[in-house]
């Protein structure tokens, strides 16, 4: 019997997020012949996101557009999703493992009385069965997990599943679903944007992280300059957060975020086991530290023993030269 797979395509300020295409990529890995891939876009200003998705070969794009969906409110978004689920009757619902996806997926799973596999980093089919790989202990171990029954709810970690590519000549049928306007028990009173225009840490291809070695909040300045130049994001170790140099939202590690960028540059980070758990799956790791014995050098592809305040600005200069040429 053919399955229906519903992909939640996350948008931010009306623009499609990269993770939405990766979630669609995950749906393609799950789908077999004859299965139907459908997309759900919800928000208050989604025309651009919907038209961007049109070329990705989905059968149907469900849209739910309403002022209640301007800011993320779990109750409002759940109402929208349940309206679509009622229509699509999916066998699997997929989200990005983002702030929104992490929040919505368990609600959907509970409402469908379904299992959920979270934070998936790889999907394979082994003897006809779809097998999901996910980290345990923030990447100190990995498990493969399978569903025992349906429906399935899955969240996929950004930056791990290849994004779906547009298919020439493809176009989807677009179905507008009415927002059921429930009475809401929670109200979003304010959203303070601290990250406008910045690359999200979990999606960044390049992460420049600072530890205690940055010495102060101002000490992040050279890291930010390099991140801006490379279109990357700045992260931090627990040490830097605890010392008050930066917000906990930047923390990478077993408590904090797990990142898997193409390039990870650890500046003034000694490399405690908790921090290594959060970044050791990065493709190329670079460590800059004054202490040649720092454990971070044991996992780094390239190590530089030296002062980050000397090295990082020079690296910025070198990258600038390369990017110009």
């Amino acid at each position: 019997m053919s399955k229906t797979i519903l992909v939640y395509a996350e948008n931010r300020d009306g623009k499609l997020r990269q993770v939405a295409l990766e979630t669609l990529g995950a749906a393609r890995l799950i789908a077999g012949d004859g299965d139907s891939i459908r997309i759900l876009v919800a928000g208050s200003n989604i025309t651009e996101a919907v038209s961007a998705l049109n070329a990705y070969g989905a059968d149907t794009i469900y849209t739910v557009e309403h002022d209640d969906l301007e800011n993320y409110n779990p109750e409002a978004y759940m109402a929208a999703i349940e309206a679509v689920i009622g229509q699509a009757k999916p066998d699997a619902v997929l989200f990005g493992h983002t702030a929104i996806g992490r929040d919505l997926a368990p609600l959907v799973a509970a409402s469908l009385n379904a299992g959920q596999i979270s934070d998936v980093t790889a999907i394979e089919t082994e003897s006809g069965e779809v097998v999901f790989t996910r980290p345990l202990y923030a990447g100190k171990a990995f498990e493969k997990r399978v569903f025992q029954n349906g429906p399935w709810v899955v969240t996929v970690r950004p930056n791990n599943i290849p994004a779906a590519e547009a298919i020439e000549g493809a176009s989807a049928s677009i179905e507008d679903i009415a927002y059921p306007a429930p009475s809401l028990r929670s109200v979003v009173k304010d959203v303070v944007r601290k990250t406008t225009g910045k690359i999200d840490l979990s999606e960044a291809k390049i992460v420049i992280s600072g530890g205690r070695g940055v010495k102060s909040a101002e000490g992040f300045q050279p890291l930010e300059e390099l991140a801006d130049l490379l279109g990357g994001a700045v992260g931090a170790s627990r040490g830097a957060c605890d010392a008050g140099y930066c917000d906990y939202a930047l923390q990478i590690g077993q408590t904090g975020k797990v990142v898997t960028p193409e390039i990870y540059i650890a500046c003034g980070i000694s490399g405690a086991i908790q921090h290594l758990a959060g970044m050791s799956q990065s493709r190329v790791i670079i460590a800059i530290n004054k202490d040649p014995e720092a454990p971070i050098f044991k996992v780094a592809d390239y190590g530089i023993v030296g002062d980050l305040f000397d090295i990082v600005p020079l690296l910025t200069q070198e990258f600038r030269k390369v990017l110009v040429s």
Binding site: R145, V146, S186, Y248, Y302
Partner: protein, 255 residues
């Protein structure tokens, strides 16, 4: 004000993970309160001190979890409930059903838990419970203020800050920055030994194995491929910076 804290016992984050006979070895491992749940315990105790009421700790786990619950009692919680039964599978679908069976009879005003557990890291159970109990929730909060029958919370959304007003009863999950968890004091530890501590099984909750059949199952467990130390680049800072950027282009091919 009746407050329940969902608490999980986890490996200390400093532990190295090893696999023996297809499962994670637990010999000699130090177990702690899941770090995010520790913020939840602290917040609950503070709210109880300010607004009156009681703080009940609630956990699903093996018998060794009792030790961790005693630590949280020593932080100031009033009583603890441990649901311990070998028939409970390691699956969030099942665990949330078990917790729901207990909580549906308790009707707390406020449920607090951690943002996620640092072992399985799936972040499902508390939010599933909100749905099962039919109450509101906000995940990943960094500030909580009670105003009668509502709570104002600050929520961390990938670095942005969302301010929500939520009707009680509700479930909130704690993110770093919510508070500084206290250390249990010696008098606290002494008192904790005498606090009410209930251990329940599936039978006590009126659940059978059939009610909590796992929806997902682990099929394989492995350690990540070990990373080995790479090259230390030596020389003057300017030379080293130049060499690194060229290696990233020619050898690693990442730029």
């Amino acid at each position: 004000m009746k407050i329940v804290v969902l608490l999980k016992q986890t490996f200390d984050t400093e532990e190295k993970i090893t696999i023996e006979n297809g499962s994670i070895a637990e010999d000699g491992v130090k177990f702690v309160i899941n770090p995010y749940d520790e913020y939840a315990v602290e917040e609950a105790v503070k709210l109880r001190d300010d607004h009156g009421g009681s703080v009940t700790l609630l956990s699903v786990g093996p018998d060794r979890t009792a030790e961790t619950l005693r630590t949280a009692l020593a932080m100031g919680a009033d009583d603890a409930v441990l649901i311990s039964d070998e028939r409970i599978p390691d699956d969030e679908y099942a665990v949330s059903k078990v917790l729901h069976a207990y909580l549906s009879k308790e009707s707390p005003d406020l449920i607090l838990g951690g943002n996620f557990s640092v072992d399985r890291g799936s972040g499902q159970v508390a939010i599933r419970l909100a749905s099962l109990l039919g109450i509101s929730h906000a995940g990943s909060i960094t500030k909580l203020t009670l105003n009668g029958t509502t709570a104002e919370v600050h929520r961390d959304a990938e670095g942005d800050l969302e301010v929500l007003e939520v009707q009680l009863p509700a479930i909130f999950t704690a993110q770093q920055g919510l508070n500084e968890p206290r250390y249990p004091s010696l008098p606290g530890i002494m008192k904790a030994k005498k606090k009410p501590f209930q251990t329940l099984t599936l039978d006590d909750l009126g659940l059978s194995e059939a009610d909590i059949q796992p929806a997902t199952k682990q099929s394989e467990l492995s350690l990540p491929p070990e990373r080995s130390a790479g090259r230390i680049l030596k020389g003057e800072p300017a030379e080293v910076a130049h060499e690194l950027v060229s290696l990233l282009r020619t050898q690693s091919k990442v730029i």
